[in-house]
Homo-oligomer: 320 residues x 2
Amino acid sequence: VNETAATSLVDAVRSGDRGALARLLSVVEAGGEEARAALAELPVTAGDATWTIGITGAPGAGKSTLTAALVRHLRAKGVRVGVLAVDPTSPFTGGAILGDRVRMHDHTTDPDVFIRSMATRGHPGGLARAVPQAIRVLAAAGHDVVVVETVGVGQVEVGIAGTADTTVVVVNPGWGDGVQAAKAGLLEIGDVFVINKADRDGVSATVRDLEAMLALAGERAWVPPVLPTVATRDEGVDDLVDAVERHRAAAEASGELTERRERRIADEIRGLVLDRCIKQADDLVSGTRFATVVRQVADGVSDPYTAATLLVEGADGGAA
Amino acid sequence: VNETAATSLVDAVRSGDRGALARLLSVVEAGGEEARAALAELPVTAGDATWTIGITGAPGAGKSTLTAALVRHLRAKGVRVGVLAVDPTSPFTGGAILGDRVRMHDHTTDPDVFIRSMATRGHPGGLARAVPQAIRVLAAAGHDVVVVETVGVGQVEVGIAGTADTTVVVVNPGWGDGVQAAKAGLLEIGDVFVINKADRDGVSATVRDLEAMLALAGERAWVPPVLPTVATRDEGVDDLVDAVERHRAAAEASGELTERRERRIADEIRGLVLDRCIKQADDLVSGTRFATVVRQVADGVSDPYTAATLLVEGADGGAA
């Protein structure tokens, strides 16, 4: 029954049903058996024709405004666009992110744009697994481009942006912004650098800083361009679209694309394995068996290490 | 050889060697085989004569200043005190915490006070495991009281404070501070509530708020007192020491103490199990076997779920 339900949900998504798409994304986000059944219908090659653009940078750099402008320019060319906005797990930034979402409002009535916030607040494995899967779902729904916006803080979020087909790193003008990006590990992952809010002072110094730091990486087939934009006034966004298209052509020609997509698959499998191992740990430390073992340690009959070994290895024996 | 080394390190700690104590705490924090060998010498009952006091609350509530004042009062009574300051993993608060540490400075030359920052920045399992183990080590070194200071944000940190023998929750005067504490899950875990910075306005309203919220929990054998303090001027700290001693007597009489100590043992075992399961996941997603599986999925020969199952169950089969 579950398999039939999954098949019909995936079919509805393929036929352009937006309600089905929203439901399938929720299923994938939640994980578990239902996600497994649905994704069995979507081979990893399902998204091969879809281009993913990662947009990342420090909080406040203007990523959401830039994403909205980019979507507008792509729509003007007739491109169907899906947006995945990955909320950080932090309760401190959740509110601000939610506010940013409002700026996407002008796209919400366009049937060829689909915007989704991913609020995977579980462990890091959940996000590593769910993002590549959601990209596949959006591709199956016929989106030509999927934009994945993540905050450029934290290994998991930076990693997700870095496995996009083209990664755009957003900084602002001003002394030290380039250095901050370097510290956050953003220099290594950027294919295109955008200096947003370029109506402020210090743009040329930031361009110089970034280009100097990027030059340290040595000779490379693709030299990441550094582009000033003012996303709120739609300035420089055409140049960004051009740069993404040039990078796409270069990545397809060099074999870099194949490598990126394998890294995304590796992330997904890594997330699935971590999911299962953490679930296993959760199962081992609940129930009466755990209570018995804890009591034995409390009574001095056993010690914590022996107890942990007993729980982990006892469970293996039981499963075999 | 390892066991002999562990035995002599534990013996040195028992004989009062502070250098050995610092080394053993590092060993325990790092985990692994060396920690296991050392802790085999320290049964969970080793700390039974030592009283642990958890101090928790929002960042900026004055926890470190209060801890320093509490240590001073306990020292005046001839009590030997160990302090575990659990750094949050957040890079945003790391700096402020480090600054707070400086206020502990007046105790650093006292041979009967030992202060340790725990910077376990790994996964939650690491902290859940390491804190009960470090308490045992400080107990073995002859400390009568161990104060565990954690920030009252995040499930793991709040959980650690909540499994102390006596948990002190620190808030500040002002509208809404009690509500914030309730939201963070601090009302349930507090045995003693301190309104620190009580030279500011709003103390009586905060006392009233807290007492009203605590009354909602219904009849209880121990009713948590709400005490105003000004830690920077040493005001109210004697009352705090009295309250902790009264709670200790009540917890010993009611059997609550046994329950708390079992919860601490459960936390430690849970942390050890999570450690092992995450280590297992890390091993599974590295090496040539993982690379082969990723390639199979990329080539369309397999899918991510089948690959994850193969990795997890293949490994079980190999171990059995």
